[in-house]
Amino acid sequence: MTRLRTAVATAVAVAAAALVGPHVVPVGEAAAATAASKTWDWGPIAEVGDWEQGQSTAGWQTWADGTGRVDIYYGQLAVDSGPAAFNQTATGDVVTTKTGAGHVRGRWELRVKAQQWAAARAYPMRLELVPAGTGPTACGATTVTLAKWTGFGSTTRFGIRQGASRWLSSVSLNNNNTFHLFGFELTDTTMTWFVDGQPRARLTAAEAPEAFPTAGLVPRMVLNGASGTAMTHTRLAADWIRYFTLDRAGRTVPATAPPTRSDAVSGVC
């Protein structure tokens, strides 16, 4: 297992392009921005998680029922399937959910990547917004999917689930140890999903008023293991997670196609 942060130069070069957090102030010109929060002028930042200088997982509920753990790995919030032994397979789920009341409206953005070792059955991974208080393994009545994919698979889905109805879109990404940015804007009239800074789907209240959440939402990161199955050792890590209010209007985001609706959905997040 490569425990040191790999491809540091590439990773931090991308990070530098996206830096807007409180711990650093860019000097001079930044490289091309890819974060939706920067591209579309979101602000102000109300909550930041970037674990830059020794922070712990405080403020996040951590949960694992197998070989995994949640920790801070080189400044990233990591859901890590384990186990400790090199090149061994994992079992169980690993979940972390932000504590607190969450936000009913606003903008969220995460910068994440996943690494894998010891090939077995690939973990499905999910980045979500769920109502505050949702249990670590619960697929509640409301789940905003910022991104979900399996292993190094490129098909990356995003959308929203409300009870038995689901609106879902997808995009193809290189998920092999590669950082991506996933953003979500939720107003009273529109919800928009962003991937690497660009809008990928939009759903309006006129199209589907029942889709709009009414509860305070919090981020959740999930490694979803198959019960009783040896899984690929996987680490899903967030370099940063930010929440922005809607106080700043921001730049106008062009309309995109709505996600596809399915009804009578059950048993999946």
């Binding site: 490569t2 425990r3 040191l4 942060r5 540091v8 130069a9 590439t10 931090v12 070069a13 990070a15 530098a16 392009a17 830096l19 409180p22 711990h23 650093v24 102030v25 860019p26 000097v27 001079g28 010109e29 930044a30 490289a31 674990w51 830059e52 200088q53 020794g54 922070q55 712990s56 997982t57 405080a58 951590t62 949960w63 694992a64 029922d65 197998g66 070989t67 995994g68 753990r69 949640v70 920790d71 801070i72 790995y73 080189y74 400044g75 990233q76 890590d80 384990g82 186990p83 400790a84 670590p136």
Partner: protein, 247 residues
């Protein structure tokens, strides 16, 4: 002192090519390198206290200076392509050509620091030499027997370490507190026994006497660390869990 002259046009082109910052300099764009830099540690866990001292800055004895940290390197090299100001280190004024900055180690494998003093009057901008500080990951481990017997004590080794060169090494930082924890059915954790203090090796052995049969999941919890007299703030850290089957 080495003079590095850059025209505005050249700096703009360089920025466009590699994303490098446009250096702040005197009106003619002159920037010089000078002074000496010292760091209080060459490696540290993110959050550990780091003191950076610059001395002998050329130009006026008192001038503004900023501590900067590299956040991007040219691929495959240690050549920094992007510097950022370290929070809380801007706007300070040097005295007697020097200044001491207090910060904490950042969470990157390779950190590099330098001091940037903008142009002051007729004195050109000054960049100090840069120094690397390696960020090392903290780790926690646990050793338990695979099986145990109800009523018979067994030993558990709790440890914390620093992860260097792909191996766990003794932290050489005595005094950190550890605890053995047991996973509950709902996924929460309960401490078992007393909190113990680790020596320089980072390892402590505790004894457990199981009272009921079944699979018990344990982990080491390494407590948050803020040793007295330092500005270190390192968060708590868990080991991977490990299972003992009690018969």
């Amino acid at each position: 002192m080495t003079a590095v002259r850059r025209t505005v046009a050249a700096a703009t082109v360089l920025t466009a090519l590699v994303g490098a910052p446009v250096l702040t300099g005197a009106a003619d764009g002159t920037t010089v390198t000078g002074g000496t830099l010292a760091v209080s540690r060459t490696a540290g866990i993110p959050g550990e206290e780091l003191v950076v001292t610059v001395a002998g800055l050329p130009g006026p004895a008192a001038r503004r200076a900023t501590l900067e940290r590299c956040v991007a390197y040219a691929s495959g090299t240690t050549t920094c392509t992007y510097w950022v100001a370290v929070e809380g280190s801007t706007g300070v004024t040097t005295t007697d050509h020097g200044y001491t900055f207090h910060t904490r180690v950042h969470a990157m494998d390779r950190n590099a620091y330098r001091v940037n003093a903008p142009a002051s009057g007729t004195s050109p901008a000054v960049l100090s030499p840069e120094l690397p500080v390696r960020g090392v990951q903290q780790e926690a481990t646990i050793k338990v027997p695979a099986t145990a017997t109800v009523g018979t004590p067994f030993d558990v080794t709790l440890a914390w370490a620093v992860y260097v060169n792909r191996t766990n090494q003794p932290p050489d930082r005595p005094g950190r507190q550890l605890a053995l924890q047991q996973r509950n059915a709902d996924g929460s954790w309960t401490r078992v026994g007393a909190v113990v203090t680790a020596p320089s090796s980072g390892a402590v052995t505790v004894r457990v006497t199981p009272t009921v049969a079944g699979a018990v999941t344990y982990r080491t919890a390494v407590y948050a660390w803020a040793p007295a007299g330092q500005d270190t703030r390192v968060g708590w850290f868990p080991s991977y869990p490990s299972v003992v089957v009690v018969r």
